[in-house]
């Protein structure tokens, strides 16, 4: 830096009150031109993008975005981020279309055998599942005991074939079990609970279980009507298999003691169930999306 010497700065030439003067220190040239450039930039910006409000509307600008809305109509808007998003979604849908077309044309088995389509199902299925199914069945399809079935195990409530999974997705399901406290007394319910615990090898009182066995197959309780004489459930009714290690409603795995486990089963028998509701997806998703989800969910649990 050069040495700065004291300088006389020129004044603006005006004199007030006889001796009051003003130094003339203009703004740096680069600053002034940068300012002019911002003015020009603003003018250009106003003409391209939405800017000034006028009455109830606004100046839209010359930049337009065209997108196809959910009704299939082409809409042209002045530039805005929402239209931009919709146009981007259109673009993504067009890019995905060949794959969805293939999904539509192929059978479930063909899709499962094709490496490229299988990869597509795994990624597209995952995001469809996360958007639509995960709120109940959880992100990985593991469900929640007492609320939503686990889709990753090998127990299929309503059947695990492609066709059955597809049917479940299209029409939804409604699980129902009456409350047996209305027809049975506390002792009988306890006996039934012990019998159900014994079916999957849990701790139980054998005397009570034997009594429960009679009740289960008798007309007073009539459990066998839905759960079957062998207690292995009936998929056409969605009645679960009681002889396996998988618990859907009674949260037996979480109960610490044998008594707690029996109590959990007792609770379900006494109050019944009217909450096993899955909505129908036929009106919410496209047929190809449901097909993708069918293969994805089938794969989650290893299928049947």
């Amino acid at each position: 830096m050069s040495e700065q010497k004291p300088q006389t700065v020129p004044t603006t030439g005006h004199v007030w009150d006889g001796d009051l003067q003003e130094y003339n220190n203009p703004l740096p040239v680069w600053w002034v031109y940068t300012f002019y450039a911002t003015v020009i930039f603003a003018l250009v910006y106003w003409t391209i993008y939405p800017s000034w409000p006028i009455g109830k509307g606004w100046i839209g600008g010359v930049s337009k975005i065209t997108y196809v809305n959910s009704e299939g109509e082409a809409k042209t808007h002045s530039w805005n981020t929402r239209a931009l998003l919709l146009a981007d979604l259109n673009k993504a849908a067009i890019a995905q279309k060949p794959y969805f077309d293939k999904v539509e044309a192929m059978s479930y088995e063909q899709i499962a055998k094709d490496p490229e389509m299988s990869g597509f199902i795994l990624s597209a299925g995952k995001s469809l599942f996360a958007d639509n199914c995960a709120p109940c069945h959880q992100a990985g399809g593991q469900g929640m005991v007492g609320f939503f079935p686990n889709l990753t195990d090998d127990d299929w409530q309503y059947g695990g074939s492609y066709e059955k999974v597809h049917e479940t997705l299209m029409g939804g399901r409604r699980g129902y079990m009456p409350a047996f406290s209305e027809v049975l007394n506390g002792e009988q319910i306890d006996q039934l609970a012990n019998y159900v615990a014994s079916l999957s090898g849990g701790d139980h009182d054998s005397a009570k279980a034997a009594a429960g066995n009679t009740l289960f197959h008798g007309e007073a309780a009539g459990c066998y009507v839905c759960h079957g004489g062998d207690a292995k459930g009936r998929q056409e009714l969605g009645a679960p298999n009681l002889t396996d290690n998988i618990w859907l409603w009674a949260n037996v795995p979480a109960a610490g003691s044998a008594e707690g486990k029996i109590a959990a089963i007792r609770g379900v028998i006494a109050s019944g169930l009217n909450k096993g509701v899955m909505p129908a997806w036929s009106a919410r998703l496209t047929p190809e999306q449901i097909k993708v989800l069918t293969v994805y969910v089938h794969e989650l649990g290893g299928g049947q």
Binding site: M1, S2, Q4, K5, P6, Q7, T8, V9, P10, Y23, N25, P26, P28, A112, K113, P115, E116, S118, G119, L122, S123, Q138, A139, G140, G141, Q142, N150, T152, D153, D154, D155, N241, D244, N245, I246, P253, E299, G302
Partner: protein, 478 residues
Amino acid sequence: MQTGQKDQSELYQKRIPIFTRSVKGRFRRFKTSVLVLAYAMYFLLPWLPWQRLDAPAQAVLFDLPGRRFLIFGLTVYPQDVIWLALLLFIAAILLFFVTGLVGRAFCGYFCFQTLWTDFFIWIEHLVQGERPARMRLHRQPWNSEKLVKVGGTHALWMLASFWTGLTFVAYFTYAPQLVLDFFSGQAAPAAYITTGVLTLSTYVAAGLMREQICTYVCPYGRFQSVMYEPETLAVHYDARRGEAAHGRAPARAGQRTLAERHEKGLGDCVDCGLCVQVCPVGIDIREGLQYKCISCGLCIDACNNVMDSFSFPRGLIRYDSEKNLASPVPAAPKVQWRSLKTIGYGLALVLMATYLAYSVATRGSFERAVNQIRQPLYVVLSNGDIRNRYQIRITNKAAHDQTYVISARGIPADAIDLGNFREITIKSGHSGLVQASVRLPPTVAAQTQHFELVITPQGKPEETRAESVRFDVPGKRP
């Protein structure tokens, strides 16, 4: 007291135009051959055909949408970014190594700023003539001659800049198609923007700013000087010989021969000024080594030609070291490589280059990523068995389709279920995703903490790769 704007130190230095005289000689020939070679490579490489199965037939193609660089037979994927790191490291070390030995050789002969400036000066010389003609043209008022010549020069510069920009873009897409699309207005916006920016920057840097780039913009110029040693060879003026006792003097009558000059105590420099006239950065090398000097060697050529014409010995300006010039009896200049620094750089260079070559030569033909599915970590099945699931992603980096066989090691053979993909065929450059389900009875599961998933390319057992994965069971915390 305030100071006026004018008297504060200026941050902007107005460019003083430099009109370089053309010169013939050893260094000029070397520079020209480097220029021709580099231009041939840069401008022709995108047009070199190379047959490929699944990509355009272009020998060097940086396929950004496809996330791969195609370089002749080699395909570089983003996973190979370590090669880029190595390459940059090698380039940096090479720069340090060479600078320690022979000074700013990169600046003088190989830097693209030097090459393009050289080419632009050649265009200027072609249109406007030799130095005196160019100076006259610069001084004369605007008339039709000046308009045509100066305008023509700038137009040719623009053309060269444009082709430079377009060629750069051609490395990123199929070149013949790009040129067609570019002129029919159908190329990607990125192509127009890149070409535009590069055209403008080339025109400004090589046409208008030239040596200002080296002096004010380029960081290498400044820090290369730090790497100089007293033994480093650089372009030097032999002041002892050139100035002698009574300084340089023109070759007038009575001081034409060496004998006459030495008698009068005059130096060998005849003060012709040619070394200054040929200098592309506009310095006088006789004032000693300067930070602006890019070591292009043109002043050596100029001086040698003058020395020859007077039958004086060559080498008044030459490549020499500071140390040698200062010694009482200067020896013949030679490259001094026997220093710890130089040998260290050389060693690092050899090591890194060997590692890069080894890494490229032994690259695998596929990439794999094996992940346990963590939602849920395990599932208890209806008969009490425990199931864990895994996702295997295989990327085929080979130039042909390949079938991979997946198996498991460390668990019973029937425990693993790969759906339909015990064998999976993946197209060249594509990825395949396979879900593996592993099902173990509780007793076996309790004893299994890890096992291996093995991927074997069919027909290439030597490329088998195994990945160790966890097996999780209920109630056991890691």
